[in-house]
Structures are given as structure tokens and as C-alpha cells.
């Protein structure tokens, strides 16, 4: 896109890069904010239907689809309260810390081939690392509220998130191992083609580990049945008891953003990313199978595909939330440490052995494989390192190129 601006319209390169960066940031922000609006409405409707109610019906016509917009306006108009004895700076800062962590993780998430904020060499690692930071905002909120409910909620959340990062990390490593890369774009590219190429159907172990991943993802974004941090029947509202108005809504945007993020990550890692169950684009002859030459229409299709999968993941989370009762804190810990972690470890070993011994996998023989990997890497290095003046595509491949707009 930047090169299009430079060549066709004749903008100077620095301006083109700035414009492209602004557009990318704007789009990502809208995925979170717009997504939150839609998902809150969807959650209310789904909850209502599961509980044999109607849910919102009046605002904005038949299905009440403007309900969350009305809620948003109400939240904007609410008074911003802060309890006496609260630590003012931390109290005000906490929602933004949470939201920023959620937003930052979206930077490295690919929506389609080359439609990614920043294509990181270690994308998976970055997303998981940044996602773990969201808990810091919650801890700050719990501490700064000067309320026992908030503090309890924050401590529970901290305990839970720190524990669940262990099995979550183990599950995430499996697709990395299968693809031989931590680059999210590469991982999704390796699953191109039919449904059978998805890593969830790679072997029985990956099928199991997908569900472990999903469980851990639900727990790490604090959704029911793991929503102990805001258990309303015990802790009023947990860590955001004392919040109101816009700050409160920032916590919610962060939560819905994270839900979408972990679902999209599940889609990229296990469900083929933007490669559909049926390779429509190559069947229709729009692309020759390799994404490098794919026209923008195909990328848009892939983008819709990934968003659809991620949305499905979020909807399943809602379904789970309104179906299962909340676990106790000891049950949450038991689920993590006694079930998820050992299962993930076993499946990890299983996938490793499968790769090693079964033909049709990546590895006929480890030594041959090593040579192949090395060749592939050396070959890829030649492609990967052009001079910094040449833009690669929609988005530059390294952070250096993003900031080097003046060169």
C-alpha cells in the first residue's frame, strides 16, 4: 500500500509510511472497539436465549442491535467516581494499562497474508508475552481501589493467570514445532489448502491439545467458568467494583479484545488461519496457491475467513459462560495444574514422537531434516533482507522499516 501511494499518487515516502501506519493503527483499534460493541450485544442475546428470555429487543429496531451503543452513551454520561482512600494515579491508570496490553498484542496478529500490523519473527511469543501483561492493569485496579472486594478479585486473577500461562505456553509451542517457525504468518501459511491441512487435524495429539489450548485461553482471559476475579455472587464485581463510566468500559473493551485475540490466535495456530476449510480462491483460479502473488480480493477473503473463525471462537466462549457454573478457586487451580498441564505435556511429547517416527510428517530423518531446514533458512534470508528503502508490501517486515520512514 505504501509503495502504491509512493508510485501512483506521488506522495513522498515518509508521508506514505506515516499514512499507512495511521491506517493500520486505526483499523486495529476499530477491530477492538467495534468488536466489543458487537460482542456485548451478542452476549446479551445469547445469554437471554440460553436462559429462555428475549434479551434486548427495543433499542434500534427489531433485535435491539443498537443496545450496546446506547450502553456506551450511558457510560460516557456516567459520573467518574473514585473512592476515598484510593491511590488516585494508579486508579486512573489501571484501565488504560489493561487496554494497552490488549491492543499491543493485536499488532502482531495477522489477519491475512501480509495484512498484519507488524510481521514479527517471533509473533507467537510476542502475543503470548503481551497478553500476560493485561493482568497488571487488573492488579493495579484491585490494589488502588482501596476495597477488599477489588483486592480479592485482583489476587485471584493474578494467581489464575500466572498458573494458566504454563499450559497455555505448552499448547502454543506445538504448532510452532509443526511449522518450524514462530512467525504467525508462516504458521498459517503452512496450513494452506483443504481442511485436512489444519494443524488441529494433523494428528490425534494436536486435536486434543487444541481443546486444552481453548480451555486455557478461556481461563487466561477470565471468562466464566473461570471468572473468579469478578465473581459477582461473592465479590460484588471483583476488581472493577469501584469503577464506573468510561474507565469501567475500558476494562470491558480489554476483556472483549482479549477474547477475540485468543480466539484469533487459536484460529491461526490450529484452524488454518485465513485458509478456509475449502480453498475457494485457488479453486476459482484467483490465486495460484501461493499467497505471495495473491490479489487483494483474496486477502480480503482470507481476512473475513479469519475474523469469522475468531468470532465463532468468541461465541463458543459465550455459550460456555452461560452454560457452566463457576468453579471454585481450588477447582480452577486443580484444572490447571492437575489436568491441563500434564495433558499438554503428554500431548507435546506425543506430537514430537509423531513427527519423529511417522512418515508423511515433516521429518523422514532428523539429519536430512536439519539440512533441509538450513537450506530453507539460508534461501529465505536472501529474500528477507532487502535494503531498507524497498517496502515489502502492505506492512514492513521489520520494526526498523516502520520507523525509518525518513530514509
Amino acid at each position: 500500500m505504501a509503495e502504491f501511494l509512493i508510485e501512483t499518487i506521488g506522495l513522498p515516502s515518509w508521508l506514505a509510511w506515516t499514512a499507512v501506519a495511521a491506517v493500520a493503527a486505526f483499523l486495529i483499534l476499530n477491530v477492538i472497539a467495534g468488536g466489543a460493541l458487537v460482542f456485548i450485544w451478542a452476549e446479551r442475546k445469547i445469554a437471554a436465549r440460553i436462559q429462555d428470555r428475549l434479551g434486548p429487543t427495543r433499542t434500534g429496531g427489531r433485535f435491539g442491535w443498537l443496545q450496546s451503543l446506547a450502553d456506551g452513551i450511558k457510560l460516557l454520561a456516567k459520573e467518574d467516581l473514585m473512592p476515598d482512600g484510593a491511590d488516585g494515579m494508579l486508579f486512573r491508570l489501571a484501565p488504560y494499562v489493561s487496554f494497552c496490553a490488549s491492543f499491543c498484542a493485536f499488532i502482531a496478529l495477522p489477519f491475512a497474508f501480509d495484512v498484519v500490523g507488524l510481521r514479527l519473527n517471533v509473533g507467537v511469543f510476542f502475543v503470548v508475552a503481551v497478553l500476560g501483561l493485561e493482568v497488571f492493569g487488573v492488579i493495579l485496579a484491585g490494589y488502588a481501589s482501596a476495597s477488599k472486594w477489588s483486592l480479592f478479585g485482583a489476587m485471584r486473577e493474578a494467581a489464575q493467570v500466572v498458573s494458566y500461562e504454563v499450559p497455555l505456553g505448552m499448547c502454543v509451542v506445538v504448532p510452532v514445532m509443526l511449522a518450524g517457525s514462530m512467525d504467525l504468518v508462516t504458521i498459517a501459511e503452512k496450513q494452506a489448502g483443504w481442511l485436512t491441512n489444519w494443524y488441529i487435524f494433523h494428528d490425534p495429539f494436536t486435536f486434543v491439545i487444541f481443546w486444552v489450548y481453548y480451555t486455557c485461553a478461556v481461563a487466561s482471559v477470565n471468562r466464566a467458568p473461570f471468572d473468579l476475579a469478578e465473581a459477582e455472587s461473592e465479590l460484588v464485581a471483583g476488581f472493577h467494583t469501584e469503577y464506573s463510566g468510561l474507565r469501567w468500559s475500558f476494562f470491558f473493551m480489554a476483556e472483549y479484545g482479549s477474547m477475540f485475540l485468543v480466539s484469533a490466535l487459536a484460529a491461526v495456530l490450529f484452524l488454518g488461519g485465513w485458509n478456509g476449510p475449502v480453498p475457494i480462491a485457488s479453486l476459482l483460479g484467483w490465486s495460484d496457491g501461493s499467497s505471495l502473488s495473491a490479489p487483494y480480493a483474496v486477502r480480503l477473503l482470507g481476512c473475513a475467513n479469519l475474523m469469522g473463525k475468531a468470532t465463532a471462537g468468541v461465541l463458543v466462549m459465550m455459550w460456555i459462560r452461560w452454560t457452566l457454573p463457576r468453579l471454585r478457586i481450588d477447582q480452577v487451580m486443580t484444572t490447571c495444574l492437575k489436568y491441563c498441564t500434564p495433558i499438554a505435556a503428554l500431548m507435546f511429547a506425543g506430537v514430537m514422537l509423531w513427527q519423529l517416527f511417522l512418515p508423511g510428517g515433516l521429518v523422514p530423518g532428523s539429519r536430512h531434516q536439519a539440512a533441509a531446514v538450513r537450506e530453507a533458512w539460508l534461501e529465505g534470508r536472501g529474500d528477507r533482507v532487502p535494503s531498507t528503502n524497498v517496502p515489502l508490501g502492505v506492512v514492513p517486515a521489520t520494526s526498523r522499516q516502520v520507523v525509518g520512514v525518513s530514509q
Binding site: 519473527n121 501483561l133 493495579l140 490494589y143 500466572v162 487451580m333 536439519a370 521489520t398 526498523r400 525518513s406
Partner: protein, 236 residues
């Protein structure tokens, strides 16, 4: 149309002269240093933790800016994520009233100041003495990735070409890697062993029925309470 666009954006022209790389470097460096100073100057432990997060996060930003994404993500995960969550944990679970306001004695401040100044002097001296860094202008470096390191850890060397070791491939670091892993595993198991809840053996239900004496009710109740509160860790 192009002319119109360009004319509309002429007020942006001064931005073209800015060295964005240098600007972002300075920004992140300023955040890192300022937050680090705030860590020292603040009294409140939780605010200290916040400033430490800022400082370490800005350092991660510097790594990303330098193109070493792996180190940056590592910095985020290990330092910003792990350490600080655990720090906040420790702060909150330990005596809170003493730590809300930390006052450092003046003697300690002086001592720490001298130590920090000495370390700073050494670091500056060693940093300035590196010949290659003093050249004006930036050297074009190809984007470094963690791939060669990761491959070397599993025994495949891809960085040997430049040195001309084509005939005899370099050996990887698989063995040291494994040794370190096993050591870490030992440490983890040891930590779990040390931190486990030390509970007395309670008679089982079958044995209770069989035994003549009924078990003391106090103990039974306390055991139940312990198993229910995992957060407290059963520290009796």
C-alpha cells in the same frame, strides 16, 4: 489531485526532516531512564512496581527498535510479565502496612548513590571505548533474527558460512542446552517440593471407621479449611 494532496499536506513537511528512528530511540530511552529514577524516588511499593514495569517495557521497546524482536519479547515475558507479577504478589501477600511507605535511611541513600555512580562511570567508560560505536551515522545491519541461535541450540548451525567452515560443519549447542534444561527442571521440582503444603497424614475414611477412637474434630476441620484455601497456601 496529487498536487492538491501535496498542497494540503505542506504543513507536514517539517516532519520529513525528522530522523524517526533516532526520535523513537530517544523517546524510549527517556521513558526508561525517567521511570528508573522514579523507582528510586517513590515511597510506595506498588507505584515502584509500576515505574519498574514502565522502565523495563521501554527497554523492550528499545530492543524492538534495534530489530532484535526475540530479545524484546523475552524482555517483555520474563522481566515485565513474570517478575513484576510475582513482585506485586509478594508485596501484597506480605506485610502491607510496612511497605506502603518505604523510607530509606540517609546513610543508605548515600551508599547507594556512590555505588550507582561508580557503576554508571564504569558502564559509560566501557560503552564509549568501543571503537565501532563512535562512528557518526548508522551502519546498515541486516535484520538479526533469533533463528540461527535457535537452530544452533538444536544442533544445526546456519551461521558457519561466513567463517568458511563449509567442509567441517560447526557443532551445535544441543548438549549444553539439554544440561541446562535438566538443571532447570531440578530447580523447579525442588521449588515445588520446598513450597508444598506440609500437612500431617490424616486417617482415611476406611481407617476412621475401623479405628476405635474417633478422630479429633478440630484437626479434621482445620484440614478441610486448608484444602479449600489454595491461595493462602495452607501455611500453618
Amino acid at each position: 489531485m496529487t498536487e492538491c494532496l501535496l498542497a494540503a499536506t505542506t504543513w507536514l513537511l517539517p516532519f520529513a526532516a525528522i530522523d524517526w528512528h533516532g526520535l523513537f530511540f530517544l523517546l524510549f530511552a527517556a521513558i526508561a531512564c525517567g521511570a528508573a529514577i522514579m523507582v528510586v524516588l517513590t515511597d510506595n511499593v506498588v507505584r515502584m512496581a509500576l515505574h519498574l514495569v514502565l522502565s523495563l517495557g521501554a527497554t523492550a521497546g528499545l530492543f524492538f527498535l534495534a530489530g532484535s524482536e526475540f530479545v524484546g519479547a523475552m524482555q517483555l515475558m520474563i522481566y515485565v510479565g513474570g517478575t513484576l507479577v510475582l513482585l506485586v504478589f509478594g508485596v501484597m501477600l506480605t506485610a502491607q502496612t510496612q511497605l506502603v511507605s518505604l523510607r530509606t535511611p540517609a546513610a543508605d541513600r548515600v551508599l547507594a548513590g556512590i555505588l550507582a555512580a561508580a557503576l554508571f562511570a564504569v558502564l559509560v567508560q566501557s560503552a564509549v571505548s568501543v571503537e565501532a560505536w563512535r562512528r557518526p551515522g548508522r551502519a546498515e545491519v541486516s535484520a538479526p533474527t533469533a533463528t540461527p541461535l535457535g537452530m544452533a541450540l538444536v544442533g544445526v548451525r546456519v551461521d558457519g558460512d561466513a567463517a568458511g567452515h563449509e567442509s567441517r560443519p560447526l557443532s551445535g549447542y544441543l548438549l549444553p542446552f539439554e544440561i541446562v534444561s535438566v538443571h532447570l527442571l531440578v530447580v523447579l521440582i525442588g521449588a515445588a517440593y520446598l513450597a508444598r503444603a506440609k500437612r500431617r497424614r490424616t486417617p482415611r475414611a476406611v481407617e476412621l471407621v475401623a479405628s476405635v477412637d474417633p478422630p479429633p474434630p478440630v484437626q479434621a476441620r482445620s484440614e478441610a479449611g486448608e484444602s479449600a484455601s489454595v491461595l493462602v497456601g495452607g501455611g500453618r
